[in-house]
């Protein structure tokens, strides 16, 4: 009955990487789009929009991601519409990432010196043009490092989806560990895979930072 940790077992974990990657990709794209909206809403002149976005951020930053995963996955069924584990995990991670990225990017937008805003207004740019042509390009450079940092965090956060039964690499590792009882090779492999996924991201971040330089104040 006991299985030895061999190539087949390792392959089971390795093939689960696609689910980790898929989940990360959905969460990052969805979270990026949502985060942009949240960041813009947080920096707009409209007071009600700022309050709304602020409340959203508070809710998602103030509750654990694990709870959010639970509520989306099991709560969805209680109010009538069931989500499969992938959809539920993608929705929860997207909502969570939008809140965090929104707040990170708000900081980057507000880090642009007032002189830039005033100069853009002075040359007659409308608010959207000012944002698009003057503020966001500069804020984007500041945003690279914290954004990639968050992306790495997000990729590792997908392991929490194992709790709702979604089989990504951490859950695959748990399943194999329970038939082999060999946690060190199993979770060692899982850790190595996470490193191989995250390290290129950090490397990319350093390259991008070097390429764009930092904004001079």
């Amino acid at each position: 009955m006991m299985r030895h940790f061999g190539p087949l077992e390792a392959w089971f974990i390795i093939t689960a990487v696609r689910w980790t990657l898929l989940l990360s990709a959905i969460a990052f794209i969805g979270g990026g789009l949502g985060g942009l909206l949240v960041a813009l809403a947080r920096t707009t002149a409209q007071r009600w929009l700022r309050t709304l976005a602020g409340g959203y951020i508070q809710i998602f930053q103030g509750t654990p991601l694990l709870m959010q995963l639970f509520l989306v996955f099991f709560g969805g069924n209680l109010i009538g519409s069931g989500l499969d584990p992938l959809t539920a995990a993608a929705v929860a991670l997207t909502l969570n990432a939008a809140a965090f990225l929104g707040e990170i990017w708000r900081g980057c937008i507000q880090a642009i010196p007032p002189g830039q805003w005033e100069a853009a207004t002075a040359i007659g740019l409308r608010p959207l043009q000012r944002m698009r042509h003057v503020i966001l390009p500069q804020a984007g450079k500041i945003a690279i490092a914290p954004t990639v940092g968050f992306l790495v965090l997000l990729l590792k956060s997908t392991s929490l989806a194992s709790i709702i039964g979604f089989v990504e690499i951490t859950r695959a590792g748990q399943i194999i560990n329970n038939v082999t009882f060999q946690p060190f090779p199993v979770f060692g492999l899982v850790a190595v895979i996470y490193f191989l996924l995250c390290w290129p991201l950090s490397f990319l971040s350093q390259r991008l930072e070097r390429r764009f330089g930092t904004v001079s104040r």
């Binding site: 009955m1 299985r3 087949l8 654990p64 099991f74 709560g75 709790i163 560990n177 009882f181």
Partner: protein, 271 residues
């Protein structure tokens, strides 16, 4: 219950508790009781199984689910005359899966206890396991009262958790891990002194480290397991009991037991 709690995922425990509370409070849509007709109409039965508890449910080398529970689930679908949808669940999340209608029934080595029966409904037993307190040979433990100075590990939300929590004296350090494999590792690495496990995991423990001479010190509980349904599903419950009665009598359940445990089906109590 003033025991020390050290779950690996305290937030998950919190989530489960919160969710169970929400489900019990009836603040949301109640779990739907299902009937035999519902199953026949949708021509499918979703069955929750554990895939991390050998030999009841595991993933085999071809990445398929197999084990005692899987075979019972297949028989259940066969006699119901519908297709089978196996849904992997974990020990801690199986009640939420059932109560939120994500599965129709659980064939998940679920020990029958009155506490659990407040939330879910059990069939008559279809399997049984023995829950034992296990420690290395040189550690003398005669009874539960002697556990007090020790660190005792259990898989969280399992029957051994309930049994140890009930039997150990106040002040015992009970350490709760995610599953049996993780708890076993804590015993192997000396982070716990004794472990509450079932008789099947004990064999694995002994095979992993023969020199420690792990041995059962005393039995905590003999656990008959039932197929689990949502409360109020009287019609389906009656069918499931009929099914277990039938496969017990015609030898099919015995054949499943022979296949996975290499011995005849023990006498199972009925109620």
């Amino acid at each position: 219950m003033s025991t020390m709690k050290l779950p690996r995922r305290p937030l998950a425990a919190l989530g489960l508790t919160g969710l169970a509370a929400a489900a019990l409070a009836g603040s949301a849509k109640p779990a739907e009781a299902q009937s035999v007709d519902d199953m026949l109409n949708k021509k499918k039965v979703s069955i929750g199984i554990l895939i991390d508890l050998p030999p009841f449910g595991v993933v085999n080398a071809k990445n398929e689910y197999e084990g005692y529970d899987v075979d019972v689930a297949k028989l259940l679908a066969k006699y119901l005359g519908v297709t089978l949808d196996l849904v992997p669940v974990t020990g801690p999340n199986r009640i939420p899966y059932l109560l939120t209608n994500k599965v129709d029934v659980l064939v998940a080595t679920f020990g029958i206890t009155p506490e659990r029966a407040r939330q879910v409904q059990f069939s008559i037993p279809y399997s049984s396991i023995d829950i034992l307190l296990v420690a290395p040979r040189q550690r003398k433990i005669a009874n539960a009262a002697e556990l007090k100075p020790l660190r005792v590990g259990v898989a969280r939300a399992s029957t051994q958790d309930t049994a140890i929590t009930g039997a150990a004296p106040q002040g015992t350090r009970i350490m709760r891990f995610d599953d049996d494999a993780t708890t076993a590792q804590a015993l192997l690495s000396g982070q716990i002194d004794a472990i509450g496990v079932n008789n099947i995991t004990l064999k694995q423990l002994q095979a992993m480290n023969p020199s420690a001479q792990y041995e059962p010190k005393f039995a905590l509980r003999h656990q008959p397991n039932g197929i689990t349904l949502r409360r109020g599903a009287t019609d389906l419950h009656q069918w499931v009991n009929t099914f277990i009665y039938f496969i017990t009598n015609n030898g099919e359940l015995n054949a499943v037991h022979q296949k996975w445990f290499g011995g005849p089906l023990p006498q199972l109590p009925v109620f």
